[in-house]
């Protein structure tokens, strides 16, 4: 078993900034990611980010990834990157069980930063397991990372930012978006994204959901129906859309399994799609020396994940005894950035979720 000073699990936006802050403070970092390439979901985000300049607004996600990985470049000798490595187990004494290819090994970290992200939720409807029913992020991966169309005609389910952005990206790839259904009575994501696809002729149907997928070996059509005030389907309102793909964008659930294995205290928060770790103001979990950031702690935009990663990284470095320049001032400024990102009606859900966790917003 190898001992490491700081281990960061997950190389997405939160993990990359956490690793950077640790390295900048002088710590040695072992960054682990199960994918071949670092970047998490940034690897497929071809759209421009909002927020402020500090979170690289008006840059595309794929370009932000380059900025973040370049920043790590100068710490070559202190940074160890383990890609295609999956952490399969966590022990209470900060020991990680890892698998890389056919090799199994253990690592122990003095401090550990978890940035494992979230996974996409599924939606229960008849035949929802047919090939052709794909999570929206999967469709994005297929198109933007591998240059492959998921199909020719798509029904999008869910009007959060992911559903809206992926609809636009489908059209950029030359795929027809036949319609977008949303169970709630209003559009969930930013109106700027919604307007963009509406202008291109996509119908956004609120209080509507998918009743079933139709097909034998893969999706051949989708049946949608109206929902009543209790979110139940109304018999007689069914209509069939000819599609070969149903894209499910109904939210994310934090990947807390590893944290829970090591006994970290979690709390169920509906707004964040499941259990999230209970954190102190330093983004430290209930286990001393174990930090968490990004979608794992609350489902938000990548912009917030990057800010949280910095806060967790600075605090982890300080707890290792490193003197971080202007640490108090920087952490205060980062908390302000988060507050700005969570402002306004689009941040309602996040603020509500954080309130349940006792976090001031």
């Amino acid at each position: 078993m190898q001992n490491k000073e700081a281990i960061v699990i997950g190389g997405g936006p939160a993990g990359l900034t956490a690793a950077f802050e640790l390295l900048q403070a002088g710590a040695s970092v072992c960054l682990i990611d199960r994918n071949e390439r670092l970047g998490g979901q940034l690897t497929k985000q071809t759209h421009m980010f909002f927020g402020s300049e500090k979170q690289y607004a008006s840059h595309r996600g794929i370009d932000i990834l380059e900025i973040l990985t370049n920043a790590l470049g100068k710490y070559g000798n202190k940074l160890e990157i383990l890609t295609q490595t999956t952490v399969v187990g966590m022990y209470r004494d900060k020991v990680l069980a890892c698998v890389k290819g056919d090799k199994f090994f253990k690592l122990k970290g003095e401090k550990i930063v978890f940035a494992t992200g979230a996974s996409e939720k599924a939606l229960p409807f008849e035949n929802n397991d047919l090939p052709g029913v794909y999570a929206a992020g999967a469709v994005q991966t297929l198109m933007n990372e591998y240059g492959i169309k998921p199909g020719e005609k798509v029904l999008m389910v869910g009007s959060g930012n992911i559903g809206l952005i992926v609809s636009y990206q489908l059209m950029q790839a030359g795929v027809e978006v036949v319609g977008l259904v949303e169970a709630a009575d209003r559009i969930g994501g930013y109106l700027v994204h919604a307007s963009k696809i509406k202008r291109l002729g996509v119908d956004i149907l609120t209080k509507t959901s998918v009743k079933r997928a139709i097909g034998k070996e893969s999706v051949e059509a989708a049946e949608i129906w109206d929902l009543d005030e209790q979110w139940q389907g109304i018999e007689g309102t069914e209509r069939t859309l000819e599609v070969d793909t149903i894209c499910v964008a109904v939210g994310l659930a934090p990947l807390t399994e590893l944290l829970q294995q090591m006994g970290v205290k979690v709390q169920y928060v509906r707004e964040f799609g499941g259990n999230v770790p209970v954190l102190d103001e330093n983004y430290q979990t209930s286990v001393e020396g174990v930090y968490a950031c990004g979608d794992l702690v609350n489902i938000e935009e990548a912009s917030s994940a990057m800010v949280e990663g910095r806060i967790a990284g600075i605090n982890a470095a300080r707890s290792l005894g490193y003197d971080v320049e202007n640490a108090d001032f920087r952490i205060k400024a980062l908390h302000h950035e988060l507050k700005d990102l969570r402002g306004g009606p689009p941040g309602d859900k996040v603020r509500k979720g954080l309130k349940k966790l006792g976090v001031a917003t």
């Binding site: 071949e36 996974s119 047919l130 090939p131 999967a138 591998y146 492959i148 990947l255």
Partner: protein, 103 residues
């Protein structure tokens, strides 16, 4: 099913990679995962559900959900959505839970 034109992405031509799917020779391209190469060839069914034998395709494409597990070079439960395609790979639809020991 490969995207030919795109306003943002640069889609350079990449060298082909031959592989076998259920014994049939197919081609992916450099940078593909097994699942992306199969999808580009129009193959959507990757595995079967264990009990009811319903067809399964990929779902999450980031190695989370196990819906894309296939037998690759004799090894079962390979997450094909995050496994890079290599020349000559033998990829098969997985039936059941897979056998760890080679026959």
């Amino acid at each position: 099913m490969r995207i030919k034109e795109h306003p943002i992405l640069e889609l350079a031509e990449k060298p082909p990679i031959p592989f076998y799917f259920n014994g049939k020779k197919l081609y992916g391209i450099e940078g593909d995962t097994i699942a992306s190469a199969l999808h580009a060839n129009g193959v959507k069914k990757l595995s079967e559900s264990i009990h009811l034998k319903r067809p399964r395709g990929f779902y999450c494409a980031i190695g989370n959900c196990a819906s894309c597990n296939m037998v690759v070079d004799g090894e079962p439960n390979v997450r094909t959505c995050i496994t890079p395609l290599k020349e000559g790979m033998r990829v098969e639809n997985q039936q059941g839970k897979g056998h760890i020991h080679a026959k």
